[in-house]
């Protein structure tokens, strides 16, 4: 059964009943809420509280002290890393959206039904392969005398430095986000009204013009959401910048892990984490406003 019929069948039904606190209702309503409050909300709140604690004689001491915030936000290297991570994330989101769009467009508008489903199956597969193993494969393939450089060598090209730099990091980000972005774009394009596209063609609009004037505005929500997810994933990713990018220069997640694993300074690591959460919230919020607001059609 398709999503559309499912949605329709829900609409036909009566609205859900108001919850009255009886044993039956509470048995189903409470467990998830309790679990997530205890083990999802509480840890994140505690992370925030931790930013005000201090480390004295190698021991964590509860306090209300702004020294961690001063230490981090007052450091030049923190802001360098912060803006680098922000730019990397935006770059990855833009790049992956550009790379994915022609592909999603062809699959949504030109591919027969069966091919589209096969494509969706292929796009889901990577979610069930370890991202670590996939990154490692790229490292093996792209390294100095790896398979790609050997292949290029036969053509008389290279060798190129493709790992331990920005290129390697971006390959990692693409590995992480490309399947998801193609999927989300594909779903949003599938809901674009075909009559609009037909009408544009009949009125003499070229294919490329139709894409920019009709298809992209109509699928705006999906395209923006996909880019936002790509940003969220890349911004917080640890594997790409450290294992494919070589940690030099570091990103926020690399910095955070360093502060935890070698510095053992949880309060300062928490400051980094809170800054990351605030940034992600701000960017997601701006993206949502852009996606649903303005003149475009939902």
């Amino acid at each position: 059964m398709s999503l559309r019929t499912a949605a329709a069948s829900v609409a036909e039904n009566a609205a859900p009943a108001r919850l009255r606190p009886n044993p039956f209702a509470l048995t189903w309503a409470l467990p998830m809420a309790i679990w997530q409050l205890l083990f999802f909300v509480a840890p994140l709140c505690f992370l925030f509280v931790m930013t005000f604690w201090i480390v004295q004689n190698f021991r964590l001491t509860p306090a209300f002290d702004l020294q961690n915030w001063h230490a981090m936000l007052g450091a030049r290297y923190f802001w360098e890393i912060y803006f680098r991570t922000l730019i990397y994330g935006l770059l990855a989101a833009g790049l992956v959206s550009l790379i994915a769009f022609p592909c999603s467009y062809m699959l949504a508008f030109r591919a027969p039904f069966s091919l589209r489903w096969f494509a969706v199956f292929l796009l889901i597969t990577p979610f069930f392969t370890s991202y670590l193993v996939r990154s490692y494969s790229w490292k093996v393939v792209l390294t100095g005398n790896g398979i790609v450089n050997a292949g290029l060598g036969f053509l008389g090209l290279g060798p190129f430095d493709m790992v331990n730099n920005l290129f390697g990091t971006m390959v990692g980000y693409l590995t992480l986000t490309l399947p998801l972005v193609v999927l989300l774009q594909l779903f949003s394009l599938a809901y674009v009204d075909r009559n609009l596209v037909e009408a544009a063609h009949n009125l003499g609009c070229t294919a490329i013009k139709t894409v920019f004037l009709i298809v992209m505005p109509a699928a705006r929500v999906g395209i923006v959401l996909a880019a936002t997810f790509a940003f969220i994933l890349s911004f917080g990713d640890y594997v790409s910048p450290s294992l494919l990018g070589g940690s030099k220069p570091p990103t926020l997640s690399v910095l955070m892990v360093d502060v935890v694993k070698s510095g053992a300074n949880w309060p300062q690591a928490s400051v980094v984490a809170v800054m990351m959460i605030v940034t992600l919230l701000a960017v997601s919020f701006a993206a949502l406003i852009y996606a649903y607001g303005g003149k475009g059609r939902g």
Binding site: F24, P31, A33, L47, L243, M256
Partner: protein, 266 residues
Amino acid sequence: MSLRRIGTVLLWCYVVTVFAFIMAPIATSFIVSFNFDRFPTLPLGAFSLRWYQDIAQDPMLPPAFRNTIIVGFTVSVIATTLGFAAAYTDYRYRFAGKQVYLALALLPPTIPVVILGLAMLIFLTKIGLFGTLKAIIISHIVVCLPFAMALIRLRLSQMDQSLEAAAWNLGATEWRAMRDVILPFTLPAILAALFITMAVSFDEYAIAWFVSGFQETLPVRILAMFQGQVSPRINAIGSIVFTITMTLVILAQAILLLRRPARAPD
């Protein structure tokens, strides 16, 4: 017109390139795992099972594998149970603060795993669970629950709401209707959720890396190998895990498809 033809052909070539990029790391991982050389290049070395023999002899792997299995099973059962309860609540009831309730259920996958890892490390250390399997299980349930909830909610939205009401009218208690109407109808989604959450837990490395201490799971071991001596053993483990996860996923798919005629139970 022929120019358009060329354009179309080029675009399809582009689509194939994108899919090649997506599939390349999975395919090379399999190839490299059967290749004799430690540092594979072109031309490829001889076919060999040495990396598989290597991992069979690694004393660190069996405990890691056992931990992964224990965590995966426990997580899938608890996450699916919690996810089912939340999905049913969303399907059946409206109440003040429902948006917040749904956010609780669905937000965790949007928080970067390193941040959740740190938050879990600090919190679970505070309550004395750091370095135990319980720590990994608790964190994984938080991350896996949304997937179970979404799958089961989707199935419930295909159900005619008057079915449950009919059962009540015929004298069934709410509990009886749950057992005889809702549960049988959602069973395929419940099974799918069990497999999918298990697969997600099998793959999760970042949070487990933070909270596990010496109780390593398989992905955490892979991360450790990655940072130390690199060798195609990583690909060998990856290929085995991939085969197991894909089996789980295909099983889940098969169950959903076989039960597809979405009819009410008689």
